[in-house]
């Protein structure tokens, strides 16, 4: 906790030293040591396809990211396994030693990135690799450390294949969420994605929308930017805003009234202004949006949770305290983004002035309410 945080009114000082807060982390990125890790889980036909044609997504690059990051694999320099055995995030032992144990993580929700099958132009091929990624998460992670929960990675551009994958594994306790990326071929509230939401709701799995993805469209409505700073600061938070706008305006929460949504790794400072803006627009366009029975702010407040990483860092911390309040302390989920370069520590990332009760809600209680534990 920040040292100058005053005790909250509901905090009774205790003579006993209290146990350290158990952390729920909504965004940990496991990596394969090499693609061979997935081979046991992929049909021969599709493994051969990968070896012959590679991974082909809607940005044309066969190898590097279109916007090279500021660190290799966008990772902490200290997160590379010392024995040279693989990539950051690929060693459970290092993850435990470096993060899970010292931070006191009680529940860590995985979000696999990379060649997971998502966004593949050949959706049947993509579906095969999503299945493999889901099997691998159980075999390499959740079966070995019960603190970890997997994501149902789905080939979201084929909603029916995605729903089948949720049906296949969604009943297993290893899985905590359904995982999509924010940059999709159509805005994610579009009806063509609704079979995914039907299956997620049926299994009481929250839908996680994590930034990144390859939509085939310029990453902004103003075209392709030049730099990673533009993609990172603006591209990701605006793609998350597009998801929220689309889910609300298209009526996803009218159709799926029990659906929970978690927005991951796009920051959260933008959510209150977006909510205010959508309410104003809704007010003037009720005729076009007659399928909505409530204001956008009400759907957002009821259905959307948002992860805290990367932590917003205004110069005036009172601005951040206001924003945390406007989002709602019960709607924020701590995320570390381990092992990436802009990792947040659960005990250092929050501003002075946040109360212990608020900190506990964000870092533990909210997650236990959202994820199917």
């Amino acid at each position: 906790m920040p040292l100058d945080a005053p005790p909250a009114a509901d905090e009774k000082p205790s003579a006993e030293p209290t146990n350290r807060l158990a952390i729920v982390d909504s965004d940990i990125h496991p990596a394969v040591k090499s693609m061979a890790c997935l081979k046991p889980f992929v049909e021969k036909k599709w493994w051969d396809h990968a070896m012959t044609y590679g991974f082909r997504r809607r940005h044309g690059s066969a190898t590097v990211e279109p916007y090279p990051k500021s660190a290799p694999l966008a990772s902490r320099r200290d997160a590379w396994p010392e024995d040279g055995s693989g990539r950051p995030g690929s060693s459970l032992e290092l993850m435990q030693r470096q993060y899970l144990d010292p931070a006191g993580v009680e529940l860590g929700v995985l979000g696999p990135l990379g060649n997971t099958g998502q966004g593949e132009l050949n959706t049947a091929f993509g579906a095969a690799f999503c299945r493999a990624t889901n099997e691998w998460q159980r075999e390499a992670w959740t079966s070995k450390d019960r603190r970890l929960r997997a994501a149902v990675v789905v080939p979201y551009e084929d909603a029916y294949a995605s729903a089948r994958e949720i049906e296949r594994v969604g009943h297993m306790k290893d899985y905590a969420q359904v995982f999509c990326l924010t940059r999709s071929a159509d805005p994610l509230g579009n009806r063509r994605y609704w079979p995914i939401y039907a299956a997620a709701q049926a299994h009481n799995l929250p839908m996680a929308f994590h930034v990144f993805g390859t939509s085939g469209h310029p990453v902004t409505g103003a075209g392709w930017p030049s730099y990673y700073i533009e993609e990172g600061a603006g591209g990701h938070s605006t793609s998350a805003q597009t998801v929220v706008t689309s889910l609300v305006m298209e009526g996803v929460f009218e159709e799926f009234p029990k659906l929970k949504v978690v927005i991951v790794e796009g920051g959260f400072g933008w959510l209150p202004p977006l909510t205010w803006r959508l309410d104003k627009i809704f007010e003037k366009n009720r005729d076009e949006l007659s399928h909505l029975r409530r204001k956008p702010s009400e759907y957002i407040r009821e259905h959307i949770w948002i992860s805290t990483q990367p932590m917003e860092e205004p110069e005036n911390r009172h601005h951040l305290l206001d924003t945390l309040q406007w989002v709602g302390h019960d709607r924020l989920l701590f995320a570390s983004d381990y092992p990436h370069w802009d990792f947040d520590d659960p005990f250092r990332a929050f501003p002075a002035g946040i109360t212990p009760a608020q900190h506990r809600a964000i870092c533990a209680e909210n997650g236990l309410n959202v994820y199917r534990i």
């Binding site: 990051k69 500021s70 940059r183 071929a185 159509d186 805005p187 994610l188 579009n190 993805g213 939509s215 469209h217 310029p218 902004t220 409505g221 103003a222 075209g223 392709w224 930017p225 030049s226 730099y227 990673y228 700073i229 533009e230 990172g232 600061a233 603006g234 938070s237 605006t238 793609s239 805003q241 597009t242 706008t245 689309s246 305006m249 298209e250 400072g269 202004p273 977006l274 205010w276 803006r277 959508l278 104003k280 627009i281 809704f282 003037k284 366009n285 005729d287 076009e288 949006l289 990367p310 917003e312 860092e313 205004p314 110069e315 005036n316 601005h319 206001d322 406007w326 370069w341 802009d342």
Partner: protein
């Protein structure tokens, strides 16, 4: 509550070209004939459907004041006692693919505005519609219009084909800086690609909402590419896409800059400071919640009170009746927003 608008400078008013014939009068014989021979109807985008409630306030639907300088003057300027109104004609020149045609239409729109609006009321000022499909033609149009000091700004539409920081636009900014013209970036899109990074939304309301996202991209691009390092006298005005999103975006932009500034080494200070000094926003639509107690806390997040410029967005429907600014805006800030900030932004408004 004060409702005195005397002398206010309205930084976003929309004249509407009534039909293609209004422009043909300002085209040379080749283009005028081309319009007829090829059967070119008017260029309108899907951004402002004529009958959509946001496009035209219900109480103005019958009189269509936006098609006539006199009717707008009486419904807006006379009624409130505004000192000036800056006209941003949204005729969809930016949507045209053919750069020759775009240049011809931009020139016609600018001449139409000059003769049908600026000449008819001394309170009007206007933005130059710029055919930036071609940098050379854009510069030429600015040079053609700039001697008339009633043109106070060069107009862009937020949904550009490429972000506005790219070096291909820089000669345009050199011309703007030379003539004391800010660049105005207005809501909307050229629709040369999807309005979001995740494709085309279903509803008009989503399209309209997405304009603020394109504005994020333009701010990031102008800052990251170093436009304000190269052109320290240039200002950019973000028009009709809200205000409250900017501060949280600047937190991100400044944080990312701290982490990845090795890729943009020409940026030697915080993006939030660059934006504070060079970027302004018009007030309509003001995206604040109805709770008046929150207004001060929200506006406090902006880097400076100098950044807000008053706009009515006439005749678009952004407010009801005369409630063009929140009633509880303090008097000092209100005065800045209505008069001082626009004057400080638009060099050519100086008496």
């Amino acid at each position: 509550m004060t409702t005195d608008w005397t002398g206010a400078i309205d930084c976003d008013v929309h004249p509407r070209v009534p039909d293609i014939n209004a422009l043909r009068r300002y085209m040379d014989s080749y283009w005028s004939e081309t319009v007829e021979v090829r059967g070119i109807d008017s260029f309108e985008t899907i951004a402002y459907p004529r009958r959509a409630p946001m496009t035209l306030r219900a109480d103005l639907a019958a009189s269509k004041p936006d098609e006539d300088a006199g009717r707008t003057a009486s419904a807006l300027l006379d009624r409130h006692g505004f000192g000036h109104a800056i006209l941003n004609c949204l005729y969809a020149v930016q949507m045209i693919r053919d750069e020759h045609m775009a240049a011809a239409f931009a020139a016609a729109v600018n001449d139409w505005v000059r003769h049908e609006w600026l000449d008819r009321d001394p309170r009007y000022r206007a933005s130059i519609v710029v055919p930036y499909q071609s940098t050379e033609r854009a510069v030429a149009e600015i040079e053609r219009c700039a001697p008339d000091r009633r043109f106070v700004q060069a107009l862009f539409i937020a949904g550009t084909e490429e972000p506005l920081g790219k070096s291909r636009y820089w000669p345009i900014y050199a011309a703007c800086e030379r003539h004391g013209l800010p660049i105005g970036i207005h809501a909307g899109s050229s629709y040369h690609h999807a309005v979001t990074g995740s494709g085309w939304p279903t509803y008009w309301a989503e399209d309209y909402a997405a304009s603020s996202l394109a504005m994020h991209a333009q701010v990031g691009s102008l800052v990251a590419e170093g436009v304000f390092v190269k052109y320290p006298g240039l200002k950019a005005v973000l028009i009709e896409s809200g205000v409250t999103w900017l501060a949280p975006y600047l937190w991100r932009l400044s944080k990312f800059w701290r982490g990845v500034r090795l890729e943009v080494p020409w940026i030697d200070r915080l993006p939030s400071e660059i934006v504070r000094d060079h970027i302004r926003l018009t007030t309509a639509p003001l995206d604040v919640p109805d709770d008046p107690a929150m207004l001060e806390r929200i506006l406090d997040q902006l880097p400076s009170e100098d950044m807000l410029l008053f706009s009515s967005d006439f005749p678009h429907w952004q407010h009801d009746g005369d409630a063009m600014l929140p009633a509880n805006l303090n008097d000092a800030l209100r005065r800045k927003v209505l008069i001082d900030n626009p004057r400080a932004t638009y060099a050519r408004l100086a008496p």
